[in-house]
């Protein structure tokens, strides 16, 4: 496929992987975090970590919007979904995320009308064609998906659609990164910046990372060559003693982001004072809710939601895993209370989370090392 295959050239990949290996200081163990779940997916899909030397480790970051939703919010969603007359819409991967008791998929089995959509606009279309039903969209995602929710709400307002509302779980990427960086035991050498988020917000919001915390950031695309090149760019910064935000994904990410998208977001959303992240706890000003002008579309106000906080089990150490302080298997509940079938923490919820990946493939990875 044109404009795709060029970024998946295995031959070039080998060359870049060779340069990466050559750029590593012998005896030093490197840890680089890919912030975005989309990057984690690409790394997994193309087997990129398999191409990297053993002493360069990729740490999966907090950027999977599905797995960071805490149990209490899923419970709220399920309560609304089970309300009479409601059509509950959300992205497919949200269906399997556990609340304190159930998943949305199980709520559907219990009679809730839960429908998978690919865009909030699909949810709005369902609202238009079912005027006698209440249609609720469970909005999730970072700055990447927030503009499409904002645009959908703008349209709903303009059209005067009354039976549409939204449970807003949009989160922002900078506060959890800051929370990770604040941790005194952080062991990361650099960050692969979230390309899609940066398409919207640009590169500037990440400048605090090199400025305040002395870690390089390279904003990266999602194809395998993008990722390898970004890793090499991080290593070059380390090698040359530079520390800055660089943009590898220049074909998509403008320096200032997408101003129109930012405008729409500013109109429709406002910052929540606090938001709870599964595995990371409460983080100030890390999420969005609907602004006063859009309050009529706020499903949390339109429906009775329990709004009960369900604490992450104390033993869960996702935060430490995310910071790279401990390995998944060092967590007290790993493999016993917390398994992919009954996940407790964010790192186990997503099949690409660090703990789920280790649970499924850990033995294989160790055998590979032994060979």
């Amino acid at each position: 496929m044109k404009f795709v295959d060029e970024f998946r050239d295995a031959e070039l990949g080998r060359v870049v992987a060779g340069e990466i290996a050559a750029a590593l200081e012998p005896g030093r163990h490197y840890k680089v975090m890919e912030v975005c779940g989309g990057h984690t997916h690409s790394i997994y899909k193309y087997g990129i970590d398999d191409l990297l030397p053993d002493h360069l480790e990729l740490v999966h970051g907090p950027g999977c919007p599905v797995c960071v939703i805490p149990m209490g919010r899923v419970d709220d969603g399920i309560t609304v979904a089970l309300t009479d007359g409601v059509i509950f819409t959300c992205f497919g991967d949200m269906l399997r995320v556990p609340g304190s008791q159930h998943t949305l998929l199980e709520a559907k089995a219990r009679g809730a009308d839960v429908r998978m959509v690919y865009s909030p606009l699909d949810a709005l279309r369902i609202a238009r064609s079912n005027p006698e039903r209440e249609v609720v969209f469970f909005a999730i995602g970072f700055e990447t998906t927030a503009p499409s929710t904002a645009l959908t709400l703008k349209r709903a307002k303009a059209e005067g659609i009354k039976n549409f509302s939204c449970i807003c779980n949009h989160v922002t990427i900078v506060p959890p990164l800051r929370a990770l960086l604040e941790s005194p035991d952080l062991r990361l050498d650099g960050f692969i910046g979230p390309g899609h988020v940066c398409t919207v917000v640009g590169g500037r919001p990440f400048e605090f990372i090199p400025a305040d915390y002395g870690r390089p950031v390279v904003i990266s695309g999602f194809e395998p060559l993008d990722l390898l090149q970004s890793i090499l760019m991080i290593l070059r910064q380390l090698e040359q003693g530079r520390c800055e935000v660089e943009n590898q994904y220049t074909r998509v990410v403008p320096r200032d982001g997408n101003l129109r998208a930012l405008e729409v977001m500013a109109e429709v959303f406002e910052l929540r004072p606090h938001f709870e992240w599964r595995g990371l706890g409460f983080i100030s000003q890390s999420a969005l809710r609907l602004s006063a002008a859009y309050r009529d579309f706020d499903a949390e106000l339109r429906f009775e939601v329990p709004g009960v906080r369900v604490a992450d089990p104390k033993a869960c150490q996702c935060g430490e895993v995310l910071k790279g302080v401990i390995k998944p298997w060092e967590c007290k509940v790993f493999g016993t209370a917390c398994t992919p079938e009954h996940a407790i923490g964010t790192c186990m919820v997503s099949p690409e989370g660090a703990c789920a990946a280790y649970y499924n493939y850990g033995r294989y990875a160790r055998e590979k090392e032994a060979v």
């Binding site: 496929m1 795709v4 998946r8 295995a10 990949g13 080998r14 997916h41 997994y44 899909k45 193309y46 087997g47 990129i48 970590d49 398999d50 191409l51 497919g92 991967d93 269906l95 399997r96 998929l105 199980e106 559907k108 089995a109 219990r110 998978m116 690919y118 395998p224 390995k327 298997w329 060092e330 790993f334 493999g335 016993t336 398994t339 992919p340 079938e341 099949p351 649970y359 499924n360 493939y361 850990g362 033995r363 294989y364 160790r366 055998e367």
Partner: protein
């Protein structure tokens, strides 16, 4: 305890948990139980097999073996609930015949006869039913099987989605065949009979959920000609065959790796995928290896017979793009590994659930 010792202990706990038969502990059925992944396995191996124990059932093959007076027979059954009923390249009637015929064929049995059971929803247009009955007749004639028994039920409006079809089939074990997961051996070549993912993709487009148009047809067809050619060319060197329906080629390979405690290595670049399926998978973020087929088999063939087997497959209409996509290995047991076209390696796991319910 040293760190290495602790890690080893944790891995041991996981290994023990994984090797236990899956337990069926859910309070209610969800669509995941029908998607062909882990939940389906829990339903089958955790509830049905333990309750209904029989050696043939425990083999978890596509068809069960029945021995009568020295004659080896194969028996199978399959229900079809596809939505929409008609889609480019086929319809529920054709699927119902070919699906059951194929379960017999890949068990190394020549399909002989089918039974047909129809569950019809009140209000279904007679014209729709007539068209499906004709499709069933045509597909049965093409596959060389007779429909020898049947049943009809009509349920209230809303209790079924138009029509559901169940077919059961009986076949006679082909004397050339000796197939089963226990015959898999390291070194075996893994063949697929043509481009993967066409049925699932055609259904997705037919549902029009994505407002995309593409020219893609379901691959529904009888696999007996392919099996016949394989057995003729490679006989007992054909070690195992599977019909790669729900869950796609990836799920079939996981089943085999688990059943035989071998590993399967797949070379992604060698997997035939049509441009439309490739583009759709790219857009939707899915892997064609997990997308359903209704006329593609996976065969594991002894290495010395792989070339003849491939040539024989390619001579069959509809299998021109058959390919060797990988091989059976001994390590790491129960795992399917993919060498990606980018040159990395990853594990190709069982599906946890399916984003696309009811495709067959």
């Amino acid at each position: 305890v040293s760190a290495v010792g602790r890690e080893e202990r944790v891995l041991q706990i996981i290994e023990t948990a994984r090797s236990k038969p899956p337990r069926f502990r859910d309070e209610q059925l969800t669509l995941a139980h029908g998607a062909g992944g882990k939940a389906t396995r829990a339903l089958i191996e955790g509830l049905l097999v333990p309750a209904l124990r029989s050696p043939a059932l425990e083999a978890l093959d596509d068809a069960g073996a029945v021995h009568v007076a020295g004659l080896g027979l194969a028996l199978t059954t399959d229900s079809f609930v596809v939505k929409p009923l008609r889609f480019p390249g086929g319809s529920i009637g054709e699927l119902a015949v070919n699906g059951t015929v194929n379960d017999l064929a890949v068990a190394g049995a020549r399909p002989l006869a089918l039974s047909l059971s129809l569950i019809l929803e009140e209000g279904l247009a007679a014209e729709v039913l007539r068209a499906e009955v004709e499709a069933i007749a045509r597909a049965a004639a093409a596959a060389g099987v007779e429909i020898v028994a049947g049943d009809t039920k009509v349920v209230e409006r809303g209790a079924a989605d138009g029509m559901y079809v169940t077919t059961s089939g009986i076949g006679v074990s082909d004397p050339r065949a000796s197939v089963g997961p226990d015959r898999l051996a390291p070194g075996d070549a893994v063949l697929v009979s043509g481009p993967v993912g066409e049925h699932g993709t055609a259904i997705m487009f037919a549902r029009n959920e994505f407002e995309l148009d593409a020219e893609i047809e379901s691959d529904t067809r009888s696999l007996w000609p392919a099996v016949d050619a394989l057995l003729e060319a490679a006989g007992q060197d054909v070690h195992c065959m599977r019909d790669a329906t729900r869950g796609g080629v990836a799920s079939v390979l996981n089943e085999l790796a688990r059943a035989s405690r071998v590993s399967v290595a797949v070379r992604e670049a060698d997997v035939p995928v049509s441009p439309v399926v490739h583009a759709a998978a790219e857009l939707l973020g899915i892997d064609p290896l997990y997308v359903a087929n209704e006329g593609k088999l996976v065969a594991c063939v002894a290495p010395q017979a792989a070339d003849e087997a491939l040539a024989a497959l390619r001579s069959v209409a509809g299998c021109e793009r058959a390919a060797v996509i990988g091989e059976v290995r001994s390590e790491p047991p129960t795992m399917v590994l993919v060498e990606t076209s980018f040159g990395g390696r990853r594990v190709m796991d069982e599906l946890v659930g399916d984003p696309l319910p009811r495709i067959c």
